[in-house]
Symmetry: C2
DNA sequence: CGATGACTTGACTGCTGTCAACGTGCGTGG
DNA sequence: CCACGCACGTTGACAGCAGTCAAGTCATCG
């Protein structure tokens, strides 16, 4: 382990970032919360200094203190089964929360690791809990977020349960595309911060299968792939491949309040 | 559709069942709630008349009004993809909640159908929400229950993502066994209220594979199976087969407060 | 008692995993 | 600046698990 040379050099807490200025506030927790309530939420949130690629935000079994929101960068969550085999459970992009599964048992069932330089907001749970008892909108939003998480997991179960390798990768790419779009990034061009192995693991496929499919999709003109960079050329057909109601449905889901 | 002949014959609401008398209260919502608060929770819960096998509690797209707790019997939740193909998402046993995934979008993403004669408690969500704003313990418990749901879904993803057919069925049987035990039923002998087809669908397997595995497990002396009835003869080995930390871990998880 | 649906069993196929070799980009150190 | 090593990614050959198709058995119910 290297020594933590940053800590005494500069206090990164000085960086002025608050929920109200955050470009992610429309998709993070503060949806439908008034100005003064937003201030109160903001007051309990701690901006941590960035994680480097490979750093852990928390590990399996760590005591549960806080929920985290990704501000920039990306995370993967995963477990390691007793035979040492890793299972990737998900990837978190900016505006997405991590750690909701730790509430039940007061300890993290998954580890969270930064896939690239990543900054997160730490939200101490006891504070969040008492605040959401006072602010109706916050309580509601918290329940909604958790409900959405359940929904997403159910969606993943469908994919893992009955989709072919081709459908899984197509669905994965469409999902990423939708999530990037919602965050204001390009829906057709983005970087994969995770490895082929992580993707395969997440989708229940061998990494070789993922690699082969990327090649095939490219040959079919569906996308262009160069190492980590992806460009979706035929989003429409990719949707068809994924065998799901994806395209416009997700847009609607993404903006329920408009 | 048959006419609803029961409705005017007898008011089943007269049946005296309340949370405080309910044998399931230790595993349903009212954990860690005081007596008078329990009364208040009890007041908002509606005991519906039993569902017959095949009846729907709700369907995909139904507006979200309430969460339901199974009192007796069992449910399956499922979606139907646009090509008419069904995906079973889960089975609910007594003491388990259904409908938590509907909070996010105010409509049910899954349908819930009774696998046998089943009675449920209906918990109107707006009431629950406002009550949980007033009762700290209830809010906490609600969040815990949702968190646990996320956790369970993650567990299912591991099973679907990287377990063999044999491991999946073994894990499924162990899971059922644990859930029955927790509810005070036998952990080694129970009835499967769902069909082979439902099990296969849920586990991402063909129903023929499920059937073959039952036969094989029986030949290996792991269990005895007669149509719907299951008797686990070697729970230990079944755990090993499932390739997971199951047996005693689940007991601990089941009783976190003892 | 026949019909229907659920389940079982068998034969065959194919998708995807495994093993293995090779290519490519990047960072390190000479 | 170049050479090297390493991690990551690609491609190929082969095999096996589980799906599909099909036939047959069993239980339940009208």
């Amino acid at each position: 382990m290297p020594t933590r040379k940053f800590e005494t050099v500069i206090s990164l807490r000085d960086i002025k970032v608050a929920c109200q200025e955050c470009s992610l506030k429309e998709i993070c927790l503060p949806v439908g919360i008034g100005q003064e309530d937003l201030d109160r939420l903001d007051a309990i949130i701690d901006r941590k200094r960035p994680l480097a690629r490979g750093d852990h935000l928390f590990r399996v079994g760590d005591g549960f203190q806080s929920i985290y929101a990704v501000r920039s960068g990306s995370l993967k969550t995963y477990t390691t089964s007793q035979d040492g085999q890793e299972q990737v459970m998900g990837f978190q992009l900016p505006g997405e929360l991590v750690g909701l599964d730790a509430i039940a048992e007061d300890s993290h069932p998954l580890a969270a690791k930064a896939l690239e330089t990543t900054s997160v907001c730490e939200i101490p749970f006891t504070d969040l809990e008492s605040l959401s008892g006072q602010i109706g909108g916050l309580q509601r939003q918290l329940l909604r977020v958790m409900s959405q998480e359940i929904r997403d997991d159910e969606h993943n179960m469908v994919i893992l349960g009955q989709k072919s390798a081709e459908q899984r990768l197509a669905a994965f790419l469409i999902s990423l595309s939708n999530r990037f779009r919602r965050r204001g990034f390009s829906a057709t061009q983005f970087n994969l911060s995770m490895s082929r192995s992580d993707i395969g693991n997440y989708l229940g496929l061998a990494l070789e299968t993922v690699s082969r499919l990327f090649t095939r999709f490219q040959n079919e003109g569906l996308l262009r792939v160069d190492r980590k960079h992806i460009e979706l050329l035929d989003r429409e057909k990719l949707c068809t491949y994924s065998g799901a109601q994806c395209a416009e449905d997700d847009v609607l889901q993404a903006e329920p309040n408009n």
